[in-house]
Structures are given as C-alpha cells and as structure tokens.
C-alpha cells in the first residue's frame, strides 16, 4: 500500500518487526510499519481493528510491544535502539499514544454478535444452514436466531450472570502476615480481598475509613492505625486516648457483644444455659475449677482478664463474620427475632418441632425392624382368570377315541418293541443335499447391501447435497409448522412468509438438484420424500387460507 496522506503523529525509527529493521509510524487513523530502505508499509492496521496492546515486562532485555487485533492475530515490534533508555522511552511514547487513540476508534461490538459469530464458527452444520437460509435470502436473520435453541443457551447464560458471592474467610486477618523489612519495622501486605473482608466484617471500620480517608488521613496511615488497634492485637485494651481512632470502636464492640449475649441462643438444643439442673454448666471443665471461687466473687487476675478478652474477641469476630452472610441475604429479621425472656413459654408448634427433631436424632431407620408397609389389599374376585392362557386357535378337533388312534398306537408299540438302532442307514445323500440347499436359501433373499441402497445410487457429493437439502428444508418446515395455530397477526404474517420461502426453496434449490440428478442419469426418485413434505405444507397452507376466508 502506498503511503497515505494521513497525518503522522509519531515516528519511531529502529523498530524491528519479524527480524527486520524498520520504522514504526503512528498516523491519525492507523498504525504502520515500514522496513528500512523501502517506501511502502509492510504492516498496516487501523486503530479500530486493534483490540489491545501489550508490553514486555520491565526486566526483560528486549523492549517489545505487541498489538492484538480483533481477529486474534498479533504483531510484535521490537524497539532496538542501542540506548536502552531511549528504547524504553520510545516504547512508552508509542504505548501512551496508542492508549489514547485506541479508545477513540474502538468499535462497540455487540457482545451478542460476537457470540453468534463464535457459534457459527464452531458448529459447521449450523453455519451451513445459516448460509443456505439467511445468506440466500430465504429467511431473515432474526427469525433464524430466534428459533435456534443454541441462542436460547446464549440468553440463558446471561441470566446466570448474577454470580454467587464467596463468603468471608474466618482467617482473613491471619493471612495478612507481617514481614519484617529489615530495620525494626513490619510490612503488611493488604490485598483488595482482605480489605473487602475487613470492611464487610467490621462495618465500624468501614465507617471510620469513609469518614477519614482521604481527607484526614492517608490510606497508609489509616491502615497503620488499624493494625495497631485492638482489632489486630490481642492485648490492647480500651484506651480512652482520642488519638486512637478505634478507641470508640472498642466501646461499641463491647456493647455489641453484650447485645449478642442478651439475644440468647435461639435453638433450644444448643443452649447450654438451659442445663441449670445440677448446675452442670458451672461444673469443672466449663472454665471453672473447684478450688476457685465462683465467678463474680473474687477479683480476677490479669492473665484471667487477658484470656477472657481473647475469647471475647474470638466470639465477637466470629459473630461478625457470620453476620456478613446473613446481612447479604437480608436475613436480619431472622437474627433480631424477639426473645421472650428465657423462652420458657413455648408455643405448641415449637414443642411438636422439638419432638420431631429429637426423634430424628435418636432413631436410625436401618436399626428398626422392617416395617410392614400399609398397602392396599387387592380385592380380586376371580383369581383363576390369571391362570389360564389363551385358547389356541390351531386345535385340530379330531375324535380321540378313533380307531385310527388305537391302530396307530399299536403300530408304534410294535415298532418300539423291535427297535434296534441302525445308525448307519439314517440319511441319504440326496436328501441331505436338498436340506442344505433349503437352509442356505435364506442367505440370498436378503443381501446386506441391497441394490437399492443410497450408496449405490448417488455419488458422495450428491449425497451431501441431499443432506443439505434435508437440513434446510426441515428448518423451514419447522418454522412453518410452529406457526399453527396462527392466533396473532404476527404468526399469520409469518405463515405467509414461510410458505413463500418454501416455494422459493422448492424452485431454486430442489429443482436444481433434481435437474442435476436427471442429467447424471440417476433415475431413482430420491427426492420423493422432500416433495411429499413440501406438498403437505402447501396443502395445510391452502386449507388454512380457505378457513380464514370462510370466517
């Protein structure tokens, strides 16, 4: 292509492409590369054809830039300036310019269209049918796509875009492992996932973040304070210095914990405080020892306080994590359900449910004795009907007390009395030959590949053509027949259109094929079935029209 008269926006020399030296030109509408010493472009692409660009990583010796086109092909340009800094700056210039130009020219491709194209490319049969029907103008594209089941797959997949959210991991804070950066400081790596988890678990922190960042504190400072706060350190207790952002959070969290406690345990089966009889919940093993005074009487030691705080924070964190998922699905009404005192007064329904749950937990179905299931007894009046088969038709009704019978039996008797096996005179060769012939005659009557098989009549191309015809015609007929009953005007118009399309199909494709066959001296009527289907459709159309005009 000759050099266009476009405005050159950027020209970089010493750019190699496919191991040849040359220069890269960035014009107002395209990107082009011209080899050294020539005057025409070897590579030239419009910005609208370029999907995206990529650069080689920082550390690599080769300074490269790759552009990827819409049709998935890619081109690599190597900035071979001997001075690497200049090479890098060249690439940066190209990259920034491309980054500016590409969005301007980006064609908003309809995602659907892309998917349709992909579908057509993948399924060759679909593509063939599409070509036959839409490209030749027999049917419009929308109708084609409307009725194809594969398109339904497209649209249904769009509905599943409501992705399912992953919940908050319980150990997300532990994953933020601090690394020491040499001199007495610690480095925390915060990913956006971690930040998201922190915000959803601790809404108080999120509130503080929104209040303070970026006006009062930088992000870095905020997170530093966070990690110094009680959220991350187990030993920090409430300090009422106002410098600490999270001091009031501590108080709020304490209040939260208390309110959670007062909520109580909803499920009676899990409620340990219910075990008041015998004070079993206060016994050894539940955190109390015999020698110690009961809680609330003596002053707890410092270690006890620390342990208590840790456990408190565990529980608090777990409750917060659990509530993230509940919050998401709007189950808050479930959590804040009314607790009536200690739940002493239960409704009848609750009692029944409890009993059912108990029974469920204590019985195993396979340990029980096999139940005799309550079946309805079948009341049959005349049993003996089942015991007799059909009266066989081939019954020769001869008298059994015939003289013949008796005579025959006498003959038999005498024959058997004097029976001596004469095994060598059993079969005459001629009889044997006849018998063999009769048995083998079964073979010739039905040969495996009969002369009428389609493989013998049509050549491979003709068979393929016939298959195509069947596919296209079936598609058309399907559109036609699904229009009935034609209740709406749209369907009625469609019926007319489809009839017209079938006619066109018959005139153009079918007749051509039949002529072809005739010319190649194929006399068998292989298209008879196709003709039958078409005439059935026409007959239906005529009767439908006459009914319509009659009304």
């Amino acid at each position: 292509t000759a050099m266009s008269a476009e405005q050159i926006q950027l020209l970089i020399s010493q750019v190699r492409h496919k191991k040849r030296d040359g220069s890269l030109y960035l014009m107002s509408e395209r990107l082009a590369w011209c080899p050294e010493g020539r005057d025409h472009f070897d590579v030239s692409h419009l910005y609208s054809d370029i999907k995206c660009q990529k650069v080689s990583p920082e550390g690599k010796a080769k300074i490269q830039l790759q552009i990827i086109l819409l049709n998935e092909s890619s081109f690599v340009f190597h900035f071979s300036n001997t001075n690497t800094a200049e090479g890098k700056s060249d690439r940066e210039k190209v990259k920034t310019l491309l980054a500016q130009m590409l969005p301007k020219f980006r064609r908003t491709i309809d995602k659907e269209l892309e998917e349709k194209n992909k579908l057509l490319q993948q399924d060759s049969e679909l593509f063939q049918t599409y070509k036959d029907l839409v490209v030749s103008g027999v049917i419009s594209p929308e109708e084609f796509w409307n009725s194809h089941s594969s398109v339904r797959k497209l649209s249904s997949s769009k509905q599943n875009l409501i992705a399912q959210k992953v919940g908050v991991s319980a150990g997300f804070l532990a994953e933020v492992r601090p690394q020491s950066d040499g001199c007495n400081g610690l480095r925390y790596n915060l990913t956006s996932d971690t930040i998201h988890s922190i915000f959803s678990t601790y809404p108080a922190v999120k509130r503080k973040y929104l209040e303070n960042v970026p006006d009062k504190l930088t992000e870095k400072d905020f997170w530093t304070m966070f990690f110094q706060s009680h959220y991350f350190h187990r030993d920090r207790t409430a300090q009422s210095s106002s410098k600490d952002l999270f001091a009031d959070c501590v108080k709020k969290d304490e209040q939260d914990i208390l309110s959670l406690l007062s909520l109580g345990v909803k499920d009676k089966f899990n409620d340990l405080t219910y075990l008041e009889d015998g004070d079993s919940a206060q016994d050894e093993g539940y955190g109390n020892t015999l020698n110690e005074p009961l809680p609330g009487t003596a002053k707890p030691s410092a270690s006890q306080i620390a342990h208590k705080n840790i456990i408190k924070r565990f529980n608090h964190q777990n409750a917060m994590i659990l509530s993230t998922s509940l919050r998401f699905f709007n189950f808050t009404n479930f959590v804040t359900q009314e607790k009536d005192g200690n739940g002493v007064t239960e409704t009848d329904g609750e009692v029944v449910i409890k009993k059912a749950r108990l029974k469920d937990a204590t019985t195993y179905s396979d340990l029980e004795s096999p139940h005799s299931s309550n079946e309805a007894m079948l009341n049959i009046q005349k049993n003996e009907r089942y015991k007799h088969g059909p009266t066989l038709v081939c019954q020769a009704h001869q008298e059994l007390n015939n003289d013949n019978v008796r005579e025959g039996m006498r003959i038999i008797s005498s024959q058997c009395e004097n029976y001596k096996p004469r095994l060598s005179q059993v079969l005459k060769p001629s009889n044997a030959a006849n018998a063999l012939k009769e048995l083998s005659s079964g073979m010739s009557s039905s040969s495996q590949t009969s002369e009428n098989a389609i493989q013998h009549i049509l050549s491979q191309t003709q068979q393929d053509e016939l298959k195509q015809l069947y596919a296209s015609l079936s598609e058309l007929l399907r559109h036609f027949w699904t229009c009935f009953p034609a209740n709406t005007t749209f369907l009625q118009e469609k019926v007319n259109r489809m009839c017209h399309s079938i006619e066109t199909f018959q005139q153009t494709r079918l007749r051509v094929f039949q002529d072809q066959l005739r010319r190649s001296m194929v006399h068998a009527n292989v298209t008879e079935h196709l003709d039958d289907m078409i005439s059935a459709a026409f007959a239906k159309f005529n009767s439908w029209q006459s009914k319509k005009t009659r009304r």
Binding site: R385, L392, V405, I412, P421, L423, N434, A435, L439
Partner: protein, 309 residues
C-alpha cells in the same frame, strides 16, 4: 472357538407322543424309530466335537417325562438278558461313550413305549412344559456340580411333534422366563405344526426355531442348525439370517373370551385384559368411567355456529 473354560451342556427333549406318532405312522409320513436313529447320530456327533461336552436326553410322553440319558440308577438287579446285549455291545469296538449313550437311550425308550401306549395315555399333547422344567432343574444341578470352576453353557433342544395345548400355557411361559433368567438357550425343531409357544421361547432366549418340512433329511437339519452352540451361530451367514426375528405372536388373551387381542382395555387395578369396555371390572370389581368421546362432538358443535352466523 468356544471359550476354553466353558463347557457345553445339551439337553434334548424328544416328543414321543404315541397318538401323534401313531397317526403319522399310519399315514406313512413318519416313523418314530427312524427319528430316534437320527437323533442318536446327531447326539453322537455332538459328543464327538469335544471330549467334555455334556448331554442329557429327556423323552416327553403324554403322561410323563423320562430321562433316556443319563439313565437313573434303578434298584432292580440287572436283567441277565439285558446284560448279554450290553456285553455284546461292549465287545464291538464302539467308542465307549457312544455305546453308553446309545444303549441307555434304547433301553429306556423301549421301556417307556412298552408301558406308555395304554388307553389312559391317549392325549393330544405331550408334557413339554414339564419336560422343560425337568431339563432346567437338571441344568441347574449340573451347574452347581461343576463347582464354578468352569462355566457351563447350557441349551435345550426341543424336538416337538404334537400340537400345543392351551392348558400348558401358564407353565410354559413360566418355564420360558426361568430359562431366560438362567441364560439357557431354547432351540426348537418342529416336526408337526407351528407352535406359538416355542416360537416365543426361542425368541425370548435367542434360540433358533426351525420347522422341518419332511423327515427324510431330519438328520441333516439337526446337524446343520443345532450342532453348534448359540454364540457360534451368529458367525454363520446362513444361520444368522434364518433365525432373524420373525413375526412372533406375542398377543395377550382377553380375560372374558380367552381370545388373542391386539388392542384392548386393561384394568389399572388388577391388570386384567378385556376386549370390550365394561364399567365394572369383573375381576376386581372396580368401577370405571366410560371413555370420553367429546372431541368429535365438539368439532361438530363448533362448526354449527360458524355456519349459522
């Protein structure tokens, strides 16, 4: 060839209905002794194929079924006259196994026919279903006795002469289902008229059904069609063709007339079949509503206002 670890067991059921054979003898069309000769040659050939082929022959009489081979041990002391014949047989250089079979069959057959041509033996049909049941029990016993070392490939060959009897229908069907379950192939060689029951049996157990047109070449038919076991028959072009599923009459019988029906009414409670609709099932006394015939009348009704307006 057959699997090295498989052994064959062939049970032949030979129909010796004296009435049928007597009439045929009278008309000069067939003779039971000649048939028995053919059967013996056939059985000898079968035994010659492999040294461990097993055999049993059952005679199906109108009043009883008797094992012709292997002979059941009788408690009687051996008859001296009989002993002489067998000695004679033993001394004539026949293959001992053949001799054993032939002699056993001959003796038992004579015994059966001597006592079996009385007046109260006159019946049109033979106890085929009973013989098949005995055969299946024998096969089962043999399978157990082979201790599972070698698989036993069993088949039953029914040589049928007399006609079917309606009274045996139920037992016959049960036997067929049992054979199907046990994977026993049932073959049929028909000398008389076509038997619907045996057609069904052969179809359901994938056996071969063959009607022999005349008995001069009976041995040839036996040797060609029934010598090989069922699996090998598939390899033969001839046999595979001729044992293609023909139209087997699987129709059920209606409970009211006992006649075969194609389309009928079935009670959904007791599954009894009727050829006509009745509002109360006579077997289980359930009431049913008559089938709705509204579609035609509706069309007429719809057409009327159109013409009217």
């Amino acid at each position: 060839m057959a699997n090295e670890e498989e052994r064959q067991l062939l049970v032949v059921i030979f129909d010796v209905n004296p009435v049928w054979w007597g009439i045929k003898s009278l008309q000069g069309q067939a003779q039971i002794t000649k048939c028995l000769d053919c059967l013996l040659v056939f059985v000898n050939s079968y035994l010659m194929l492999r040294h461990d082929n097993k055999l049993a022959i059952i005679a199906s009489h109108s009043t009883k079924s008797v094992f012709l081979y292997p002979a059941q041990e009788s408690n009687q002391s051996p008859d001296p006259s009989k002993a002489s014949t067998s000695d004679q047989a033993g001394g004539d250089c026949r293959y001992e196994h053949f001799a054993k079979v032939d002699d056993s069959v001959t003796d038992k057959f004579k015994e059966l026919m001597r006592d079996g041509c009385e007046k109260n033996d006159i019946r049109r049909d033979s106890l085929i279903a009973g013989s098949m049941a005995i055969a299946l029990c024998y096969i089962h016993r043999m399978q157990i006795e082979s201790h599972g070392n070698t698989k036993l490939n069993a088949r039953i060959l029914v040589i049928k002469a007399a006609d079917d009897a309606a009274s045996q229908y139920m037992s016959f069907m049960n036997v067929i289902f049992a054979a199907q379950k046990e994977r026993v192939v049932v073959d049929a060689c028909i000398l008389g008229q076509d038997s619907g029951l045996l057609q069904q049996a052969c179809d359901m157990t994938s056996g071969m059904y063959l009607k022999v047109p005349h008995q001069d070449a009976f041995l040839q038919y036996l040797l060609t069609a029934f010598l090989t076991e069922a699996e090998l028959r598939k390899e033969s072009l001839v046999l595979a063709q001729s044992s293609r599923p023909r139209e087997v009459d699987y129709r059920a019988a209606c409970f009211c007339h006992r006649s075969l029906v194609d389309i009928g009414f079935v009670c959904s409670v007791c599954l009894s079949i009727f050829c006509q609709f009745s509002p109360i099932c006579s077997t289980c006394e359930t009431a049913f509503k008559p089938p709705v015939q509204a579609s035609k009348s509706r069309k007429k009704r719809r057409a009327l206002p159109a013409n009217g307006t």
